[in-house]
């Protein structure tokens, strides 16, 4: 066989290998996005199945929707809170658990365990615990604190959904950071210690830069995940009180499946998509500034 036969066969194999994944994305992601754009230009009556072309009307409705600014505010607050806490706590746990002591395996298991609990079961239980006469306030009462009515006030409801979301999902980031930390060569620490660097400056000058690619990955995945958190909100607060925890994802679901307004729901969904795209692109562009390997 000549080099070119092998090469040509290799190229063919390459295309064949990626075909299933490419086809899956084309059929189940790209095609639906195209269809969503078309839906957003139409008005639907689900009961009769009638479709009317309305042009940009649904987009104009975005500007007139009195609830939308509050929904966007809640989305920013929720996603921002989840991302910051999730990354910070994940990194902290990874650093604490990246050493040898008795019980380290136990703690790794504990902090990861909520990840395997189904979101719905997890949230149902927190729903119980966060009732005004529930377990949390029972515990707080035991040490003389009169706990707030967690899910009934805007601020505490937001804190509750962010907190339960972070506790449930931080295990994944912890493990990813652990993996990254274990990849930092020990000699670098040795050298730094010989130079008399403090442990804080070692972390800032050596550890952080070396694990920055993982930070980039976790930030992207966490941002996307936070913008898509549906089950927590649906089960814990149903978007309330008022609109305080109605994040964009939940609002899309309401419009399209509860109010049967598929045109407007699709428009909102596309807005969500553009947010995800812009945020990811921004992180991708900025990565050269702070991610170590990306020069």
């Amino acid at each position: 066989m000549s080099y070119w036969t092998i090469r040509r066969r290799d190229v063919l194999t390459g295309y064949l290998f990626i075909l299933p994944q490419l086809a899956g994305v084309a059929v189940f992601v790209l095609l639906p996005v195209g269809m969503a754009i078309w839906y957003s230009l139409n008005d639907w009556n689900v009961f009769t199945g009638k479709q009317t072309f309305v042009g940009a009307e649904n987009y104009a409705a975005l500007a007139d929707d009195p609830q939308l600014p509050k929904v966007l505010g809640a989305t920013a607050l929720f996603s921002g809170g989840v991302v910051v806490l999730n990354i910070a706590l994940g990194l902290l746990l990874a650093v604490l658990l990246n050493r040898k002591f008795r019980g380290v395996t136990f703690f790794r298991t504990v902090f990861f365990s909520p990840v395997v609990v189904s979101v719905v079961a997890w949230t149902l239980v927190w729903g119980f615990l966060l009732q005004d006469n529930g377990g949390i306030n029972g515990l707080l009462g035991g040490i003389g604190i009169d706990g707030p009515n967690w899910l009934q006030h805007g601020d505490t409801a937001m804190i509750s959904v962010v907190f339960t979301q972070v506790v449930r999902s931080v295990g994944v980031n912890m493990v990813l950071f652990l993996a990254a930390l274990q990849g930092v060569p020990g000699e670098l620490y040795e050298a730094a210690r010989i130079d008399g660097a403090s442990s804080r400056s070692v972390f800032g000058r050596i550890t952080l830069p070396l694990i920055s690619p993982t930070i980039l990955l976790t930030v992207i995945v966490t941002v996307v995940g936070a913008l898509q958190s549906f089950a927590q909100i649906a089960v814990l607060t149903a978007g309330g009180p008022e609109l305080s925890t109605t994040v964009l994802v939940y609002y899309v679901f309401q419009q399209a499946f509860k109010f049967n307004d598929i045109g407007y729901g699709s428009t909102l969904a596309l807005m969500l998509l553009s947010f995800v795209m812009v945020l990811t692109l921004l992180q991708w562009q900025l990565r050269r500034k702070w991610v170590f390997y990306e020069e």
Binding site: I18, A23, F28, P32, V115, Q182
Partner: protein
């Protein structure tokens, strides 16, 4: 030094409370008689434990069937994803073909598109295909779209880090690409594959929005969907039954995880995700 270590363990123990309490409370409350669940002051253990709610979970809904649904869908999705992502990830990492980078970016968009954008169009597509109220949408979309893209991403990162020499030796022995992939690279990829398997299984196991949209018959429900349906004929919550059912969905996963946790954490740690 010693006191610092004690301090560290203490701090971790305090941090661990919110991670552990819900699960413990759920199990404890599931054996309580209904009036005690909301008793004030709340207590963790009951003096009158009862397994009635566990029986109720099975008589109220076809819960065993729903359990089976979730298990078989998750297993199937995991198998398909393993195959698709191992193929795709390998090709993107190792085979040079025109357009590889551009096509990889196209695939990556699959990770960024929220399911809320695609759910309505997908519903229409599956409706035309006559697949509403079947498990097909849950299997196909999960196995080929977003969770699979993440898997392909992980596999690519892993294969990129694999030494080239191994493949060259195999090539000299006369193995073709598929042979190299299957006999040389896949066996080496076990850590990454196990990480992908667990993440994909969990993604399918926890799917909530999709089943609520596609599935309407209780005997086709999956577990997360079934859990929210323990309501009496008038929509009132059957708390103790719900908790018993939730316990039954969580405990097996926790047991499997505790048994496999070393392999899993190590698997992720060495999957080349750096």
């Amino acid at each position: 030094m010693r006191s610092r270590r004690v301090l560290l363990v203490l701090a971790l123990a305090v941090l661990a409370i919110p991670f552990v309490v819900p699960t413990v409370w759920m199990v404890a409350a599931s054996v309580k008689p209904l009036p005690e669940i909301f008793a004030a002051p709340p207590s963790l253990w009951t003096k009158h434990p009862t397994l009635a709610a566990y029986g109720e979970a099975f008589s109220f809904q076809p819960f065993a069937r729903q359990y089976l649904n979730s298990v078989y869908i998750a297993v199937l999705v995991t198998l398909i994803t393993l195959a698709v992502s191992a193929l795709g990830g390998y090709a993107f990492a190792r085979i040079k073909f025109p357009g590889a980078n551009a096509l990889f970016l196209v695939v990556l968009t699959g990770l960024l598109v929220p399911s809320e954008v695609t759910i309505v169009p997908l519903f229409q597509m599956f409706k035309r295909a006559g697949m509403i109220n079947t498990h097909w949408p849950l299997i196909l979309v999960t196995a080929l779209a977003a969770p699979c893209v993440l898997a392909t991403f992980i596999m690519r990162q892993f294969f990129i880090a694999l030494p080239v020499e191994l493949e060259e030796a195999a090539r000299l022995d006369g193995l073709g690409r598929p042979g190299i992939w299957f006999r040389i690279c896949l066996p080496l990829a076990k850590p990454a594959l196990s990480a992908v398997a667990i993440l994909t299984f969990l993604a399918s196991w926890n799917l909530y929005l999709e089943p609520t949209v596609y599935i309407t018959s209780p005997e086709l429900f999956t577990l997360p969907q079934a859990l929210t349906r323990f309501t009496d004929a008038y929509g009132g919550q059957m708390w103790n039954t719900q908790l018993a059912a939730a316990t039954m969905t969580v405990l097996p996963m926790l047991v499997v995880f505790v048994l496999l946790q070393r392999q899993f954490v190590e698997g992720l740690a060495h999957s080349g995700l750096k």
